[in-house]
């Protein structure tokens, strides 16, 4: 379809404008991550937009190798929380995707578990804060407080609804004929699911998994309540990046923020071509 030059100009103007605005916080974070302490200026007069004396100190600092002499020693470095975040978000994603995919298939093909759509929507609607007291008591009873599996498990549960709904729409969309053909040729149902259905669902699995991973990766509240030391995640750990010498260690927080943005971005790039297709939720069937 032809578009006028005026429209193209309008398009670029609007898009670039919005991109520029939306980049401000991100760029602020990136710039902050490379600023020496004198330029943080959260509470002060002269504002530094871009580091005048760029430094990697903030990154070194959170990994325990500070060359800045002014900050109270860091008792815990960021390595462990990064690992904790990666592990729990990944295992949580695995749990949600496994249970969600299986249940979605079960409902979509065999009509089992008709209660799940509603139950899972309610589960997702419910503010986690309101249910954390019993969860804390349960987790404590099961010895899952400050435990990687405990955190992964709750992540798997709270993101299960998304995994389920996304996958269900894909299964609903997928033509049954292919599976039926394989069944006729003598494959068992189970084999069909593993060998035929799942491989076909790879794009759907990838985009759903990314979505679920980002949700897990972002969590602050649940980790705050269910971890203490060993498995504190990035957002929880970030709260401890403050010092009586200088106040909030914004540079260190920003540096950690930059690092924390890397896994979702890498995953996002890896599955970019599936991303749009993956988010139609099968809503466009006629």
């Amino acid at each position: 379809m032809q578009r006028s030059i005026a429209f193209e100009a309008f398009r670029y103007a609007v898009i670039l404008g919005i991109v520029a605005i939306s980049l401000v916080p991100t760029l602020w974070m990136i710039s902050m991550a490379f600023k020496p302490i004198a330029e943080w200026s959260a509470a002060g007069a002269d504002l530094t937009w871009w580091p005048r004396n760029p430094t990697l100190d903030n990154f070194r600092f959170i990994f325990g190798q500070s060359s800045t002499e002014l900050i109270v020693a860091l008792e815990r470095t960021a390595g462990r929380p990064i690992f904790a975040s990666l592990l729990t978000a990944s295992v949580g994603t695995l749990i949600a995707m496994t249970a969600g995919t299986a249940a979605a298939y079960g409902l979509s093909r065999f009509g089992q578990g008709g209660n799940l759509p509603l139950a899972l929507i309610q589960l997702r609607l419910f503010p986690p804060m309101a249910v954390m007291i019993p969860v804390m008591i349960m987790w404590s009873f099961l010895g899952l407080i400050d435990n990687w599996f405990g955190l992964s498990l709750i992540y798997g549960i709270v993101t299960l609804p998304f995994a389920f709904w996304l996958m269900k729409t894909f299964f609903d969309d997928m033509p049954r004929e292919i599976e039926d053909a394989a069944l006729v040729e003598g494959c068992t149902r189970w084999r069909v699911f593993l060998r035929i259905t799942l491989p076909m669902m790879r794009p759907a699995l990838a985009s759903s998994a990314l979505f679920v991973f980002i949700l897990n990766w972002s969590d602050y509240l649940i980790a705050l309540l269910l971890t203490t030391r060993d498995w504190a995640t990035i957002p929880v750990y970030m709260a401890s990046l403050s010092s009586s010498m200088t106040g909030q260690l914004y540079g260190a927080k920003a540096a950690l923020g930059v690092i924390a943005a890397v896994p979702p971005i890498i995953m996002g790039i890896a599955i970019q071509k599936h991303l749009v297709r993956g988010l139609t939720f099968g809503a466009l069937k006629e």
Partner: protein
């Protein structure tokens, strides 16, 4: 197994297949069912139980002995009169009523601009998705700095108005609410955009062509073909944001802690405070159950609508 079934009479074979399929279906849904049961059963029972008592961990008795502090429905009647709860609820709804439409309109507008190809589309598209990838807690700290009176936001405003702007965003009840909404809009418009773009790309081209050939203007096509065709995906996109904003906590809590005063106190922040600071856990249970009941009604209604939408 299949070899055996082929030898059976046709009806019996079909029956067995149906049975085994049903069994497989059960097995497949089992993990999800168990997880739901696991997370729902004990918490609901416990919440129901302690919500009828005056129990707080400060009372020095374990929760299962909360019956010693039985107060019946007092927590619920308190809740009815709890202006902070209603305030928080109203504030949450207000944030929802502002943020969701803004995110929707921005996302929709961007989707319109991105729906056909142009130079630089991929790069711009990827850049727009970045806010979604920033961990909300970090976003909270960054927005806290951005909204300081001597911070970047005011600096930009000063640049555009060419006179010094020194608005203390986070110290003013109204502006603080705006600031946290800006943060939410910043972070989640990309998701809205992504979903709506996916939906818009999937609107059949020939329908649009047909409308053009019938003489429909761009606007007419947009409102009579594109939007109605995207109806279900719009509902999904809105539903996701409504659901998530109802629970809004992370970024907001780090930015303002619900303050100043209760100016940015949402449901989750309020529950957090009652849980962690005032420690009236029986009351939290009552709040939780009240929310659960309301949400159940809402979601049953929503599911019904969605299923009707899919059938129709």
């Amino acid at each position: 197994m299949t070899e055996v079934t082929t030898l059976m009479p046709a009806t019996k074979k079909a029956e067995t297949q149906a049975n085994s399929a049903a069994r497989l279906g059960l097995w497949l849904t089992l993990p999800a069912q168990l997880l739901v049961l696991f997370i729902a059963l004990f918490p609901i029972l416990m919440q129901v139980y302690i919500s009828l008592t005056d129990w707080s961990p400060l009372d020095g008795i374990p929760w299962w002995r909360a019956y010693e502090l039985w107060i019946g429905l007092l927590n619920y009647t308190d809740l009815m009169a709890d202006s902070r709860f209603w305030g928080a609820l109203w504030r949450t709804l207000f944030v929802m009523l502002v943020c969701v439409p803004v995110q929707f309109l921005l996302g929709l507008g961007l989707a319109v601009l991105f729906v056909d190809d142009f130079r630089g589309k991929r790069v711009l598209y990827s850049t727009l998705l970045v806010p979604m990838m920033v961990v909300p807690a970090v976003a909270g700290y960054m927005f806290f700095m951005l909204f300081q009176s001597g911070g970047p936001v005011n600096d930009l405003l000063s640049f555009f108005t060419s006179e010094p702007v020194r608005i203390a965003w986070l110290s003013d009840p109204d502006l603080a609410l705006i600031a946290v909404m800006v943060a939410d809009i910043w972070q989640w418009t990309p998701l809205m955009f992504l979903i709506l773009l996916a939906g818009m790309i999937s609107v059949p081209q020939d329908q649009q062509m047909a409308a053009i050939l019938l003489g429909a203007s761009w606007w007419r096509r947009f409102f009579t073909i594109v939007l109605p065709r995207m109806k279900s995906i719009i509902i999904i996109a809105l539903a996701i944001r409504v659901i998530e904003i109802f629970k809004i906590f992370d970024t907001l809590f780090i930015m303002t802690g619900g303050g100043p005063g209760v100016a940015t106190e949402t449901i989750s922040v309020y529950i957090y405070k009652v849980t962690q600071q005032e420690l009236i856990w029986s009351y939290v249970a009552a709040i939780a159950l009240a929310i659960l009941i309301v949400l159940s009604v809402v979601s049953v209604f929503a599911i019904k609508r969605m299923q009707r939408g899919q059938d129709g």
